[in-house]
Amino acid sequence: MSLKSHILLSAVFLLASTSLQAKLNGEQLYSNHCSACHGANGDGGVGVPLALPDFQYGVTNDYLTKTIRLGRPGRIMPAFTKLSNKEIKAIVKHIRTWAPGKPFKYSNKKINGNIKHGKEIYAKSCAACHGATGQGGKGTGVTFSRPRDLPVIAPALNNPGFLASAPDLMIKTVLMNGREGTPMLSFLKQGLSEKDIDDVVSYVRSFEKNSAVKKIKEKHLPYLSYESPNSMEETIANVKKAAIGKNFRIIREQYLNEGLVKEGKENKKQMMVYFCNFDFLNRALALDPRVGLFLPCRLTITEENGKVTVSSINPLYMSSFFNNEELDKLCQEMHDVYTDMIEESTF
């Protein structure tokens, strides 16, 4: 067989396998992309409980589709830009298998309420949960096997992903009816008139103009690394001193390849020092249970051709994986701590 025939056959094979992948059913796609956060049956976790009947009735397929496609920038839910329209449709179809009936349908009609009045009502009735500027509640979803005051975290109403996905009438319906199974109450029952609710919807819609989420993210290197003028042993001692000086507890020192090679055969020129601050750990876990990927805190000290280097992960680089603005702030703090420690230990 000629080279050309080989290439043609390989291309046809790859095309066929890609098309087969696209035909994966919604359940499988959901399992691969969504269930880790939203639960195998949509009962929630890091992500919101999608199977909640009131949620199922209250949102349209278009809302679900746009939410999957656009995500919620800075609020953990990623934008699934690589999924095809067909794949998203299959996922939505699967999510709908949990709904006992048909969802509402909303037109895209704009509500023209009084924004100023809506702002006053929002401050009194909504800000306590959704934040003064619509930034939403803190933390992630329902469980992490952790007691929480609220079964869901109040969504960020100023989030461009939310605003692009939710039509005015959907927001109005939620305000009027509430959402059973969550702390969201019916504001008609709370005494607001339909006119008041229209005003609140218009105020929420006005967040679009002020949405600050489109920040240009700085490019960060994946690692922090400094050369040390001192010997390997002195540098390790300095690292430990610097960690203790920053209120960390040294929890372990080990060679990089320890556990992978026979005892005694470790590379003594590659050492890892692990340290921990439990207060910091708990703050991080409260923001996102997946932060174990940063843990434990560690500096790596290596010697190659007489050159000693201290390096660490760059928390700011890793933070971008999580799409969590709260975590970004903590990672900035951690980045500064790592930088200080590396500087101190290589002085």
Partner: protein
């Protein structure tokens, strides 16, 4: 060597599809309905089947219950192969802070969640030689997670 237009189109399309399906999430995640001890055991067994050694398991849960969490089941599993770690740490020292690679595994009610960073996030145009290893790890983790998802 000359190719006709159809061949050129097919090659371009194939490359495009390969690249676009190679780009993936930044975090690799899986949920298994196995309880934590069973999932932990299965993870270690599966890593071993993929020829990786577990270099260490770090407990993260000490003090968690005292802080209000309802779980004491949170571990970080570090894994790798002797040869890969030796080669990469020498040839690509910028990867040092990330190796051995790790998987976070923790209980969430009756289920267990697994999370790992996508190794391809460390791909760097300046060091194309490392991509072979990063891609292998990524594919292996995806396969390992799929096995865990399907385990009961």
């Amino acid at each position: 060597m000359k190719y006709n237009n159809l061949t050129k189109v097919l090659i371009s399309l194939t490359l495009f599809l390969f690249i676009s399906t190679s780009q993936a999430e930044q975090l690799l995640m899986a949920r298994t309905n196995q309880g934590f001890p069973e999932a932990m055991l299965k993870l270690q067994e599966t890593l071993s089947e993929f020829k990786y050694s577990v270099s260490r398991v770090q407990r993260i849960d000490i003090g968690l219950t005292a802080s209000g969490y309802q779980t004491d089941k949170y571990r970080i599993v570090f894994f790798g192969t002797e040869k890969e770690i030796a080669y990469l740490s020498k040839k690509y020292p910028h990867l040092l802070p990330y190796i051995p690679w790790k998987i976070a595994i923790f209980a969430e009610q009756q289920d267990t969640l697994l999370v790992s960073a996508n190794p391809m996030q460390l791909s760097d145009k300046k060091f194309p030689g490392a991509d072979r290893y990063l891609m292998k790890w990524k594919k292996d983790i995806e396969k390992i997670f799929q096995i865990l998802r399907e385990s009961e």
